[in-house]
Symmetry: C2
């Protein structure tokens, strides 16, 4: 028996939420089964009416109404260190730069109907690349959701990747006007740490026998790992307000966060709930010290929390992951107790096993996506 199945925090409310999810997911899950196990196609077709969207949207041309990129947020800041080599260029080292902005790339399908836009935000030490082609070359959630007729918006967190960052402090330390201790903690995940933290297996290079992450592409995955410069940001993290502004700009969007950013959609909704049509938290932490007013705000927004498998099976991080599941279950219970609509989706309870922390890149990533799409259909769009 898996450790998580013994957890004392598998409360009655949690079990109820899971049972609810089990009931709801059937049609799309059966459809996913048809796509992934063709031998079962006939049986499944007889069992469940095919949903309107599906397998024919995974292959074939991708037809877009529009695509592009833009920035949300940001502000003009004066800096006295545009370089760490004064006199090395043509200009004084003091100037005005843009900081805190959030880069967003988007695609709108030709036939989106009334489907709600989805914003997919990456986690620590990663970028929008998270949602694109998987390390072993399969389709990521970004394109898949577009093919399922959702407009998709993929940001890089403020201070990460194409959003840029404020390098002033690095140059000031180089010049000597600030001490080394003023440098931001610029942390990243190395291969061995990621292997354990992301639950690919108990320790590098041993993978769980049912591991869904394409561990054969571990080096390729490592190439998308980016140092985290969030320590250069002001408090509160401007990504939260930028997400809220993006949702408002879209007149309604599902905000999805992962890992480090798992609770960013919550924070965005607490900043400005006006555009937040739904919250999806994937493998992250959840707030457990909310005020009654905050709970009331969040209870108006359909919320889905997702965890993968093997939460208690990697010794170095089992406390972290079991604690995250427990905290998020408390969060879900708290929202539901206030009349909200929050769902805990622990994938093994939905019949999906071996999923890692990077479940949007796992080999069954489109099956997991289908569960989310089904949830959006029932909890957000039919609301």
């Amino acid at each position: 028996m898996k450790q998580h199945e013994n957890c004392t925090f598998a409360s009655g409310a949690r079990r109820k939420a899971m049972a609810r999810f089990q009931m709801e997911k059937t049609p799309r899950f059966a459809h996913a089964a048809r796509r992934y196990w063709p031998a079962a196609a006939l049986t499944v077709t007889l069992m469940a009416a095919a949903p309107a969207l599906g397998a024919d949207h995974v292959a074939g041309p991708l037809v877009l109404k529009a695509q592009g990129s833009f920035f949300v947020g940001g502000r003009t800041e004066h800096t006295d260190a545009t370089t760490g080599t004064p006199g090395g260029f043509f200009f004084p080292n003091a100037d005005y730069i843009q900081v805190d902005q959030m880069y967003v790339q988007f695609q709108i399908p030709e036939a989106s109907g009334k489907h709600v836009p989805v914003v997919m935000l990456h986690g620590c030490c990663l970028s929008g690349k998270t949602w694109e082609t998987t390390p072993d070359g399969r389709m990521g959630w970004g394109e898949y959701f577009v093919r399922q007729r959702h407009a998709v918006y993929i940001p890089d967190q403020s201070s990460r990747a194409r959003s840029g960052f404020d390098a002033t402090i690095i140059n000031e330390v180089r010049i000597g006007t600030q001490p080394p201790s003023a440098l931001p903690n610029t942390f990243t995940f190395g291969r061995n740490a990621a292997w354990e933290l992301f639950r690919f297996g108990p320790a590098f290079p041993t993978a769980f026998s049912d591991q869904q992450f394409p561990v054969e592409a571990m080096d390729t995955f490592g190439k998308q790992v980016i140092p985290d410069l969030n320590a250069t940001l002001p408090t509160p993290n401007p990504t939260w307000a930028n997400l809220a502004a993006l949702a408002a700009q879209l007149h309604g969007a599902v905000l999805m966060g992962h890992s480090e950013s798992g609770f960013f959609p919550e924070e965005a909704a607490l900043t400005d709930p006006s555009g937040v049509a739904g919250l999806v938290s994937i493998e992250g932490l959840c707030s457990t010290n909310l005020t009654p007013e905050q709970v009331a705000t969040l209870a108006k927004i359909p919320t889905l929390v997702i965890f993968g498998d093997h939460l208690g099976d990697v010794p170095s991080v089992s406390a972290l992951w079991l604690g995250a599941l427990q905290g998020c279950q408390q969060f879900v219970d708290q929202i539901n107790a206030a009349g909200g609509d929050a769902t805990m989706l622990h994938l093994p309870d939905a019949g999906l096993f071996g999923n890692s922390h990077m479940l949007m890149q796992d080999k069954n990533n489109l099956q997991v996506a289908d569960l989310i799409l089904s949830w959006i259909d029932k909890h957000v769009e039919r609301k």
Copy 2:
């Protein structure tokens, strides 16, 4: 009379190349005229047969055969500083990370025919965002070239944006195992410096009266400016070999560089010319100390060098830009003297005025693109 029209380095060879370009560009240029000045449509239609591609591909659905992202190059490196706060996480600070890789995003149009793929590489303190939606919201070259039936590959330079960078030295300085002087020069362009360097006008906020850059969106442009961490890279810059590997992987591609990376396509071809079908250098420096063997290698590859307007009109940078034009003209002459096919396109000589350093974002950016597409058609694809 503009200063550049007086330049002593406007040699006979350069004038000849320009005359050649003038003759060649006519049909596509007339087409561009039709798109930008609708009132002239009838006249122009009578003057020139419409090319096969064109205005109907700027609007309407975008139909893609495939899209995605991947990495080129990279290597596994041991680091002793995955964070600058040892003990702050669950793991030892020593681990293995991936460095020097180059992130590449691509789109392949449904109907690409035999059109050659185009790789668009950004310049200093910028990212692949350079080629996407312009700061004032118009279509960038990335989508435009796809709509003109070219597969387009947009990298972030190694150590920039979604390619990630090696933060080891930053953390080592924070921890105290390296001195502050070991920090990389992490330079960026502030607003006032960019205004002059990119020739939007003589000094912020004064713009040239015929300025093509959307200066009203200057703050938005500033949001795409990213600190340059190339100083963290080994020598030679791995982006050069990564570009060459990408071209080889594509079995032939036009490599386009801009500004800082204007000569990167040349360096890629000198690393491995096997996949380099054409070179486009935009507003960058050109090599002027090539060996005869290097010249012979480059002479086998059609080459286009492009400069915008006002090269001598911003006092603080006129020596830089006029020198760049002069050096590139020498380069073009040298390639042609060795039997090569190199073309200098100084936009004012082609009838386009007011173009800035960021000509792929200028208001007439698609006209400039048409000139490049026409050059590819005649010099690369009909070769």
